[in-house]
Amino acid sequence: MSLEPWYGDDPEWYGPFDGDAFGTLGRHLSVQSTSRMLAYGDAAAARMDCGRAVPLGRLPSGYVEDPARVYRHDGIDVQGRTERVAVTVVFRPTRWYPGELRLFDGRNFPSVYAGWMDEAPHRFADGSLCLYFPRDPVQRRWTAQNGLPMLLSLAADHLFFEDVYRDTGEWIAPQAEHGFPAERRRAA
């Protein structure tokens, strides 16, 4: 059971979104609804003989369903590559970023997976692409209103930037500093 109404089941949300996406991307696009079970509970730790506390993560006291709406494109063109690259876009109810206290609205912060790059300067730990800074104004980040084709366009650009970075060591697109300002202050 999800704690909040899940927009991924709401035709008023996915109807127009899918209409635009499938109208533009046609047979190259597919969509699937999935879910996973997440445990929640209290943080726990064990005190060792030496006196050191070893964190044990969270002791699960319950489970919550974490649904997802997953779009797959069979291959986008990336400038300077001969093979197309498959892309997977995962929408979940919310998105959390390490170092940030609040949760972001999952509609505007999906995870985007495309290809792989070792030591990539702008990917998350799970390999998904860091396409935009979540706290940038709405004009400078993707939102669901921009539609899936525009998100895939950002992904294609991002893969191209990675290829150029691999060739030259230069990231040619605008960049935001890594992390969040508060986190950076704490680190300082």
């Binding site: 990336v78 396409l131 004009q139 084709p149 895939l152 150029v164 697109a173």
Partner: protein
């Protein structure tokens, strides 16, 4: 416009399209051989059934592609007693006589000849067992046994055991007329779009490509203008529904049953976005990027090879930096490196 005024473009894109077109053309020798076989079939059919023959399809329309694998022919059988037609006798007996005549008259020259007419929707299939284009498996002919429509325009052609209305003779007249009016640029551009169609799982049939072109290619055009005009018109027309029969006799032309109409339109919209981007990049004086878009458009390395990809990356990187960093930092969109959509002016990030 005088007869010498075929619109030409001296651009990179136009030059590349004409070069690519020459790579998919059928040789005169292959065409001669295909016509010779078609004439042999026509003679056999007329000896058996009388009447008149008509030609149809890519060889008759001047838009055949390499490899050349088939030819189309029809015979209009006299029916003085009015025995055949809707509600009367079906086409089976005529097809059997035609098939027997073909076997009888052509078997000596083509010992591996096979003729199939049972359980087929429209045509008798003739397999020569002898290819016209080297390294192809075979060469075939589709033979239609038609009768005149006594009460309306056009012919009746087989639909299994019944008949459908059609006007293939008028179709060929219309295409030949368009070829004449366009000084053969209709056929040349049609070849390019047919090749595109072949490399994208054939969302529509060849006849649909020509039927759409009949409405939008009415005079001499460059290959660039043919493709631009055709894609714009196809998207507009198919958004309204299936393409009507240009002769106004048969029903609308069906799309490939493996596609929905919105998928067909999406294919053409994607093609248009890539082609438009090629023209934009040419205007921006990035010819190597324009050629790369053309290679993406046709998706066929033999017909339109991709330029060196490291040079493409370098050119696109130079273009992107100039366009992005010469714009104010707060602008909402900047040039994309793809034809998918405009680019939001985001900042790459990581936590």
């Amino acid at each position: 416009m005088t007869l010498l005024d075929i619109p030409t473009r001296t651009s990179t894109v136009e030059h590349a399209l004409n070069e690519a077109r020459s790579r998919i053309e059928v040789t005169p020798e292959e065409l001669d051989e295909a016509r010779r076989r078609r004439d042999a079939l026509a003679a056999a059919l007329k000896r058996e059934l009388g009447g008149r023959t008509y030609v149809n399809g890519s060889i008759a329309h001047g838009d055949a592609l390499n490899p050349l694998t088939d030819v189309d022919l029809g015979i209009v059988t006299p029916d003085p007693d009015g025995l055949y037609g809707p509600g009367l006798r079906g086409p089976g007996a005529l097809q059997e006589r035609a098939a027997d005549a073909i076997r009888r008259d052509l078997k000596d020259e083509y010992p591996k000849l096979r003729v199939e007419h049972l359980n087929r929707r429209r045509s008798i299939l003739v397999r020569f067992g002898d290819p016209v284009t080297p390294r192809q498996a075979d060469f075939t002919a589709d033979v239609i046994t038609a009768i005149d429509n006594r009460t309306g325009a056009g012919l009746y052609i087989p639909n299994y055991s019944t008949w459908d209305r059609s006007h293939p003779e008028r179709h060929t007249e219309m295409v030949k007329s368009a070829n004449d009016a366009s000084r053969s640029t209709f056929a040349r551009g049609t070849r390019l779009m047919k090749h595109w169609n072949r490399k994208h799982d054939r969302p529509i049939c060849s006849w649909n490509i020509k039927a759409l072109a009949l409405s939008c290619i009415t005079g001499p055009v460059s290959m660039t203008d043919y493709i631009s005009s055709w894609l714009n018109h196809a998207i507009e027309q198919l958004s309204l529904g299936e393409t009507p029969d240009p002769a106004g006799v048969a029903g609308p032309i069906k799309i490939n049953e493996k596609f929905t109409m919105s998928q067909v339109i999406a294919e053409f919209n994607e093609a248009k976005a890539i082609f438009d981007r090629a023209l934009m990049l040419e205007d921006e004086e990035f010819p190597i990027l324009a050629l790369n878009e053309l290679a993406k458009f046709f998706a066929d390395e033999e017909m339109m090879p991709r330029p060196d990809q490291s040079a493409v990356r370098a050119a696109e990187a130079a273009r992107f930096k100039v366009k992005t960093f010469s714009a104010p930092a707060h602008v909402a969109s900047t040039p994309s490196t793809t034809a998918l959509a405009d680019r939001i002016n985001t900042r790459s990030w990581s936590c």
